[in-house]
């Protein structure tokens, strides 16, 4: 592969090409799905190869992707990428440009504790089958799922500046869910929630203590059928790590992808309420809130030695003591904003066009444990395990529902509520944050499915978070 990618970039040293890069991915995927205790689907997609060529000609990007690494196919892709850039430049007002970077060479290989692709299939199936049996329909449980997805990706990247990078990593998505019904309504509980993926192998199932939580999700889903809803208009809420990761993702992560400032995502994912002049002065959040993008931490799925346009991994403050100080950028956009590129350009597979993406997008820890935070709360709700999410075109108005809420009275959890739903405006919400738990509660929460771009790409990324409290939040949504 190294030879192929280096030969390809050499073929792109043409006078009219001002910048070019090539990426190749070699990906293995495996998925296992149990439903109601029986194996519903088990499959693999192994040795999937994808190559993408991106060229900048006349200030316009052209791109071609293929899964065929034969000389003929690569030559065809080169010609197509060049032709796409040439014709695209016929409908162009402002040329794409950015300053050069010094070349870097990088190697990285991640080793999971339990390589899911080397484990015997029977062992994986046996473990998951046991979980599936434990949560299969019983009592008021009418439907259940145990799901696993494993991915190994080897990525090669090179560009016309001489940068070369080769990295390999494993990501795993473990999940189980039960659905309870009393005939009139259904309620669900998942474990470990929608952000339970991670940079890991099969050991992630053990880390998340699946066996120890089968009874819990059955009990809670059943109890939710008779649980009350939140009745007051406003309440203090503590958001648990799994759901807070999504809150961070939607209302800060996507909002600070700077391609949205320039309208590059209007046609699909949307814009952002952020304007360039806000950088450096906008009070995005309370002073307790510090948020950063960190592609240098190998514990998260957003780690990379070099991003998909040759920028070395970086830790960049996005919100410092509540003030918006930076953006997630590409080289082109960083140049337009007068910033340094933040190493956030990513392509899901080799034949995908790189986009500004979150990597490890994190809320910095504060102080104290979750128990201490609950004890410090007179009346409120601990919300966790995302059920639904929605945010507007500008990343300004969001509304979330979690599977369960734990009612807090005088510093203690005293009951549960079903489908707790809250909404807010991004700035007001993050300015209402008065406390973030400490490093002992801080960990990565990760997803396999952040959608962006056209044609669509599903990115795997992480959020480092600890539970946090938000005061006087609107919880009066009635359905």
């Amino acid at each position: 592969m190294e030879q192929i990618i280096k030969q390809t970039i050499q073929k792109l040293s043409l006078p009219e090409i001002t910048f070019a890069d090539v990426r190749i991915t070699h990906t293995d995927n495996e998925f296992i799905a149990f439903q109601n205790g029986y194996l519903r689907a088990y499959g693999t997609n192994l040795d999937s190869i994808a190559l993408g060529i991106r060229v900048l000609i006349n200030g316009c990007w052209g791109f071609a992707g293929t899964q065929d690494l034969s000389n003929h196919s690569i030559d065809k892709a080169i010609n197509t990428a060049i032709s796409n850039a040439r014709y695209g430049s016929l409908f162009q007002k402002n040329k794409v440009e950015f300053p050069p970077l010094s070349p870097v060479q990088a190697e990285y290989e991640h080793h999971p504790e339990q390589d899911p692709f080397k484990m015997p299939k029977e062992e994986k199936i046996g473990y998951l089958h046991k979980l599936a049996e434990a949560i299969k329909p019983q009592g008021k449980i009418v439907h259940s799922v145990v799901y696993a997805m494993f991915m190994r990706q080897e990525k090669y990247y090179t560009n016309s500046e001489g940068t070369y990078s080769h990295s390999t990593y494993y990501n795993t998505l473990p999940m189980m869910e039960v659905l309870a019904s009393d005939g009139a309504q259904v309620q669900s509980r998942t474990w470990p929630g929608h952000m339970g993926a991670g940079r890991a192998g099969f050991e992630l199932f053990h880390k998340h203590k699946f066996e120890e939580n089968t009874e819990r999700i059955i009990r809670e889903a059943t109890d939710l059928l008779s649980a009350p809803t939140i009745e007051e208009d406003k309440a203090d809420i503590i958001i648990g790590s799994g759901h807070l990761a999504l809150q961070l993702h939607e209302s800060v992560g996507h909002a600070t992808e700077a391609d949205r400032i320039f309208g590059m995502e209007i046609s699909y994912a949307g814009k952002t309420f952020i304007k360039p002049e806000m950088i450096g002065s906008f009070q995005y959040a309370s002073p307790q809130v510090n948020i950063f993008s960190d592609s240098t931490d190998p514990r998260g799925m957003g780690y990379h030695p070099v991003d998909d346009e040759g920028v070395v991994g970086k830790k960049v403050d996005i919100i410092k003591n509540g003030i918006l100080v930076n953006q997630q950028t590409s080289r082109q956009i960083a140049h337009l904003l007068g910033l340094e590129p933040s190493s956030n350009m990513k392509a899901s597979y080799g034949d995908d066009f790189p986009l500004v993406r979150m990597t490890n997008f994190c809320l910095a820890p504060g102080e104290g444990t979750l128990d201490q935070l609950i004890a410090d709360t007179e009346h409120g709700y601990l919300l966790d395990f995302t059920k639904t999410w929605s945010i507007d075109d500008n990343r300004n108005n969001f509304q979330f529902t979690t599977e369960i809420g734990y009612r807090i009275e005088k510093g203690k959890i005293v009951g549960i509520v079903k489908e707790p739903t809250y909404y807010g405006i991004t700035k007001e919400f993050w300015n209402s944050c008065d406390r973030v738990c400490g490093p002992e509660e801080w960990d990565y929460q990760s997803t396999f499915s952040c959608g962006k771009g056209e044609p669509g790409q599903s990115m795997q990324l992480s959020h480092g978070v600890a539970p946090a409290r938000f005061r006087n939040i609107d919880v009066r949504v009635k359905i």
């Binding site: 190869i49 990428a81 796409n84 089958h129 590059m264 209007i266 507007d392 509304q399 599903s458």
Partner: protein
């Protein structure tokens, strides 16, 4: 398609096995534009071979991208080495056995018919037309060509070729950010009438000259544009699947042949409408036919594939809701708008998600043009709004439908970029629940 033949021959040597193999070739020419200029052009080719092998009630699947005989041999060996050790799916009975072939039709490769140069010329003309109003255009102009062949051990052998195109233009005011959208898609580019497309876009731009206001949360009488009613119907159709029924998540559980909506509401899945993107085959290769879903307010059918037909006992039809059509009513759009004293015109929806699919409760936002209607006329631009509703309640509250339906293209943007159409009229809906404002355009 020689890889499919190679794999089929390998599996035919094992009479104890059943199998389904799908080989798919998909290619796209994808122009994305912003601020009235090219963002990037992507050309991409994907070839995949998908197989599911069954031994009794045990199964294993594999997918190979750009397969060759070596990778196929390895995958089959891998499957055969594990399949006996897997737990059974007790509900698997048999593979699809519907051998009906779709009527052959001529398919034009739109990647060749609408080359990049032509795309940029069309876009330049649209950009020039909106520029005097201080609008720029954003969006995508896509042509796909895809070929699909499915075979299974019951003797099915089906080939389907399609080449849809899709143009979506959002015109955004450079100062106020007020946005309107116009889209067109289909399979024959001759149906694309540039003048007509531009006229509709410019008419919407005309509404953007009004003042921008915010409104209070509450219930409003609204006009839902075809793409909104179409999108609500797509979400509602989730519950019309036998799979959702089996998973206890269907609103329509226990409602077969019962009146669920007003009698002027009829919804079907119709692959034969010439204005819509055609579909030859549905789930597992079953022929795709017209299917009535809601007939004059009565729920008539679940969409059901072979597996869930065996599991639930419902009749098999193979429909997937890919060609949804809401029947037109009797009023003109002007009459619908004219009947509202104070309400909203909603052009497009954004980021919808179910809160509880069985109850059809949902939240989402308006986008790309929300307008205030006062005394029967559009009078203001409104900030984008959040709604929290039950889709079933929205359909129950449909007061009247426009007297014509409009094809609306939708892109399925995960995995490969798929293009489908929904056909829908404008609808007048009472008491639509606006739960908050975004305070932005």
């Amino acid at each position: 398609m020689k890889n499919l033949e190679y794999l089929k021959n390998l599996l035919d040597a094992h009479p104890e096995l059943q199998y389904e193999i799908i080989e798919q070739y998909w290619t796209t020419d994808f122009l994305r534009f912003y601020h009235s200029q090219t963002n990037y052009n992507i050309s991409k080719e994907v070839t995949s071979l998908n197989a599911t092998i069954y031994k009794g009630k045990k199964s294993f699947s594999f997918m190979l991208d750009n397969a060759n005989s070596q990778t196929i041999d390895n995958a089959v060996q891998d499957a055969l080495s594990i399949i006996d050790k897997l737990p059974e799916d007790p509900y698997f009975v048999d593979l699809e056995n519907d051998k009906t072939l779709a009527k052959p039709r001529e398919v034009i490769n739109n990647i060749e018919v609408v080359p990049l140069k032509l795309k940029t010329e069309v876009l330049a003309r649209i950009a020039n037309a909106v520029a005097p109003y201080n609008f720029d255009i954003f969006g995508s102009f896509v042509c796909n060509y895809q070929k699909y062949r499915l075979v299974n051990s019951n003797g099915l052998d089906k080939i389907s070729v399609s080449s849809p195109y899709y143009l979506e233009v959002k015109a955004v005011h450079n100062k106020s950010q007020v946005t309107v959208v116009e889209a067109f898609g289909g399979e024959d580019f001759q149906y694309f009438q540039e003048r007509n497309f531009l006229d509709k876009l410019l008419q919407k731009i005309g509404y953007c000259a009004y003042d921008i206001v915010d409104i209070e949360p509450g219930t409003y009488d609204v006009i839902l544009a075809p793409r909104c009613l179409g999108e609500f119907t797509q979400y509602l159709a989730y519950g019309m699947s036998a799979r959702a029924l089996d998973q206890h998540s269907s609103f329509f559980e226990g409602k077969l042949n019962q009146k669920v909506f007003p009698e002027w509401v009829s919804v079907c899945d119709d692959p034969n409408d010439p204005e819509m993107i055609h579909k030859d085959y549905g789930s597992n290769g079953h022929i795709y036919r017209y299917l009535s879903l809601i007939d004059q307010g009565i729920f008539r059918n679940f969409m059901c594939d072979n597996y869930y037909s065996h599991k639930t006992g419902l009749p098999k039809n193979g429909n997937t809701g890919s060609c949804l059509k809401i029947e037109a009513g009797e009023k003109t759009l002007d009459e619908l708008i004219g009947s509202i004293k104070r309400g909203l015109f909603i052009s497009s929806l954004h980021y919808m998600n179910f809160i509880n699919p069985k109850e059809t409760s949902i939240t989402g936002l308006t986008r790309d043009g929300t307008f205030l209607i006062e005394n029967g006329k559009i009078t203001k631009v409104v900030n984008n709004l959040r709604f929290t509703e039950k889709i079933a309640r929205i359909f129950e509250h449909i007061q009247a439908l426009e007297n014509r339906s409009h094809p609306v293209p939708f892109s399925g943007n995960y995995s490969i970029f798929d293009i489908e159409t929904v056909k829908s009229p404008h609808a007048l809906v009472k008491d639509f629940n606006i739960s908050s404002s975004t305070k932005t355009i």
